[in-house]
Chain length 490, copies 2
């Protein structure tokens, strides 16, 4: 007789490309986001939290990252017929929110938003399908003062979370200047302009020479593949390269270089004027080129944005996975986009904003030792006599009432070694022990686990004797002694 079929057990696995975050990974991110929110709030930005789910119709398809135009969303159909999807960024929902609530919102509307977004793309190492974004945008004003404000706020934010001045740089470019260059070149064909834009986007990777080749006949890739070029002549490609390399010793020089690159183009002149206004406003508030500078080599997002474009880079070196030094690189980017709301209302609504790469910035702070490192484990009160659980609970209640993180061991108390192993796994700084003898004598044993670990690793026998890591103290001095040890561990 066949055995009755059993339902197989479900696999205990996150879906591919998703992950769990534990302990510090959660709290450090929360603390960083709270610091960022504090700066945004001080600048007059209001919090907005839209739902994770939008209609596919409202979401549209406006991914800023031109490298991955076919990137998908997670979508499903409702019983009644509407297609819904998880948001892939915080900008598309902002456009929907502004269109929906525009009569109730102030104009201009400054808002910030932080939370997870989802991308239905192939996961890879360190590349997840759910990740955090943190955005600030100003909707409803075309004033370059709004762009300048975003740049200043971005610099303040980086310093507020712990990136020292000198370790970051906010760089500003302008899509209109590039449009002016293209106009001067006589490049009015949209397909050709798009091809040039896509090429410029590779400037960070392939450099000036690479872009020159790609604008011309083409280029042999590092992989050995030949990439066809746009087909411009050396003369035609010239102004584009002049634009990309027009950064001078100071803002005035850069702006002069740009003015010559755009020739007679009026849209180009508008773009240079905007950059000049932004530079002036920032200088008046004391944001010098050590923090924010005009830099036409910023190409990220130039194809997406319609005016000023910003990027925040961390300029200190780190070692990559192969041990080579390289700059940490970009942690935030943004710019002006004037067409998002128009989809809904038919009216063009100017908007500008920035998005911080939360995970990258957090990684940078860890790199700089600005987060983590502090002992977060709880004091563990061990259980020597399971009938006296109430005594142990009273101890942790006393410790907690003074703000000390503490817990009673709640596993099987039979094996004391397991209790100490547990404390070790928890990263506990201190263990408290009260057996029958201690109870009778009105004392408790306090074990400094950090010192204990250090001694176990390094100490000579003499040192071991001199610096006991376990003390006996009167029961009523429990809290004071634990506090003393914690303060000493710093």
């Amino acid at each position: 007789m066949a055995k009755p079929k059993k339902t197989p057990r479900p696999k205990a696995e996150t879906p591919k490309g998703f992950r769990d975050y534990f302990g510090r990974d959660v709290t450090e991110r929360a603390e960083m986001l709270a610091s960022i929110a504090e700066v945004y709030h001080r600048y007059g930005f209001d919090a907005l939290e839209s739902s994770a789910v939008e209609t596919v119709e409202a979401l549209g398809k406006f991914l800023p990252d031109v490298d991955r135009p076919n990137e998908g969303v997670f979508a499903w159909q409702e019983d009644e017929g509407d297609w819904l999807a998880l948001r892939y960024d915080l900008t598309a929902p902002l456009a929907r929110v502004y269109a929906q609530h525009r009569n109730d919102l102030p104009t201009p509307y400054r808002r910030y938003a932080m939370g997870p977004v989802w991308r239905n793309e192939k996961p890879g190492p360190g590349r997840f399908r759910q990740f955090y974004q943190c955005d600030a945008d100003t909707v409803g004003t075309a004033s370059p003062a709004a762009d300048a404000e975003i740049c200043a706020m971005l610099a303040d934010t980086l310093e507020a979370v712990g990136i020292p001045r000198g370790d970051y740089l906010v760089r500003v470019n302008n899509r209109k200047v590039l449009n002016g260059v293209l106009e001067t070149m006589g490049l009015n064909d949209n397909a050709e302009r798009d091809a040039v834009l896509r090429t410029i986007d590779k400037f960070d990777k392939v450099g000036e020479a690479g872009v020159r080749e790609l604008l011309g006949k083409g280029r042999l890739d590092a992989s050995g593949a030949y990439i066809d070029g746009v087909g411009l002549s050396e003369d035609q490609a010239g102004p584009v390269l002049a634009f990309l390399t027009s950064k001078g010793a100071d803002a005035q020089t850069t702006l002069a270089n740009l003015r010559s690159a755009i020739g007679e183009s009026s849209i180009g002149a508008e773009g240079v004027q905007e950059l000049e206004t932004i530079a002036g406003l920032l200088a008046a508030q004391g944001y010098g080129p050590d923090r924010i500078e005009i830099d036409p080599s910023v190409v990220r997002g130039l194809g997406y944005y319609t005016g000023p474009v910003f990027e925040a880079e961390l300029t200190f070196d780190i070692l990559d996975e192969k041990g080579r030094k390289r700059q940490f690189g970009s942690v935030a980017g943004g710019g002006r986009y004037d067409d998002l709301v128009k989809r809904f209302t038919g009216q063009a609504v100017p908007a500008t904003g920035v998005s911080i790469g939360v995970d990258r910035l957090l990684a940078a702070l860890r790199e700089k030792g600005r987060v983590g490192g502090s002992t977060q484990g709880p004091v563990v009160v061990t259980v020597m006599d399971r009938d006296r659980m109430a005594d142990y609970q009273a101890m942790v209640a006393e410790l907690r009432s003074t703000g000390i993180r503490a817990e009673v061991y709640l596993g099987n108390p039979k094996n004391f070694g397991n209790q100490l192993k547990y404390a070790d796994k928890r990263g506990s700084p201190v263990a408290v022990i009260e057996g029958a003898e201690e109870k009778a004598n009105g004392v408790v044993q306090i074990k400094d686990l950090i010192l204990g670990a250090q001694i176990a690793e390094n100490a000579t026998l003499e040192e071991w004797k001199e610096r006991p890591s376990q003390f006996e103290v009167p029961r009523d001095q429990l809290v004071a002694k634990v506090r003393e040890i914690l303060d000493g561990q710093g």
Copy 2:
């Protein structure tokens, strides 16, 4: 000739049952969750953030709310075939996480989690398909000390967020006691037991008499419909009603009543013993019946949990939509559930936990005036001369550098009335004005908008003259004067 078809504009609407949260609604919730996390952390609980998306397989179907067994999830199929879904609570993901990472996690594992969950159910007034949960659970210990700890932590949490002692009560019951009662009654048939459980679940709504009818022949509903009863005799129903109404003047009396209700049942005795242990541990830590009490009339979740069950109720009165007084009611619930992890591993893993109804608790705090009310609008620096934007930006930079929330008006500055309307919409406490004349004289005008609004509403002409709401101060006293006004507005 037919007109060319235009793509219709997308509708700017949240999907049905979803909503946007603005400003204070976001920040007040974030502050409340941070206070809760602080207490949980102090108790030794570690943060966990799992992804919003799980495989349908891992999620299973373990909704605690027996009223709505067909409640759905938002699910979709991956290209490769896996079905994925948005989590509907934070407990099912915890079971998956624990099963997946159990070798790396401490045992017992105390964790807290907070974040949105999604339910694919029919939306209604005040009933949304995305909402926040905030859970704390201890996995891997069967000790009633873990249950007691959850109850104490829940009481501390309510006080930490602003519910005063006396305005809440944590009530504790135990499913095992009920099982003992059913055993004593000789009710071993599963279908019959389930019918009794479902009936008990209505105790809150229909009271003792209603439950008596429903356990017997049946009952005429308020709607006029006749609800068939379980069909027990009056004698058989007796012990169930004795259980539900066994709460005495103190814990000892209640426990004695329960002991007589369970007769010779050993599972019942186990349940009473657990309640006695919990009561003893809590009393030893000073949590008296003014904060936590044993109350067998707690029925919510009795069908779902396997041991102790907890519920936190707010005991102060509010007025309902019809102006009638009623108790605010439940804001948190939980209990012991020992089978969730077993689905994955085959091993039973005891667990206990609590879930706070974030939106209800926030509503309670608003009701008590514990959040909100403070002016959060920014100081608005108006633009009198658009060529001097740098001057205005410098003012807000000065204000912000001392921690004052401030912004420059970035809309069209032509109409000054619009600037003041904007300040009003933003809830601004103060407007700053510097026209050409003020600039020439080295002064600024400061307008106290809160006082101005009060005067406009109430003041006589004399008061108006005596308490000017607009002042002229030297430019270098801008920050000091604004600070003075803000402090005065308190």
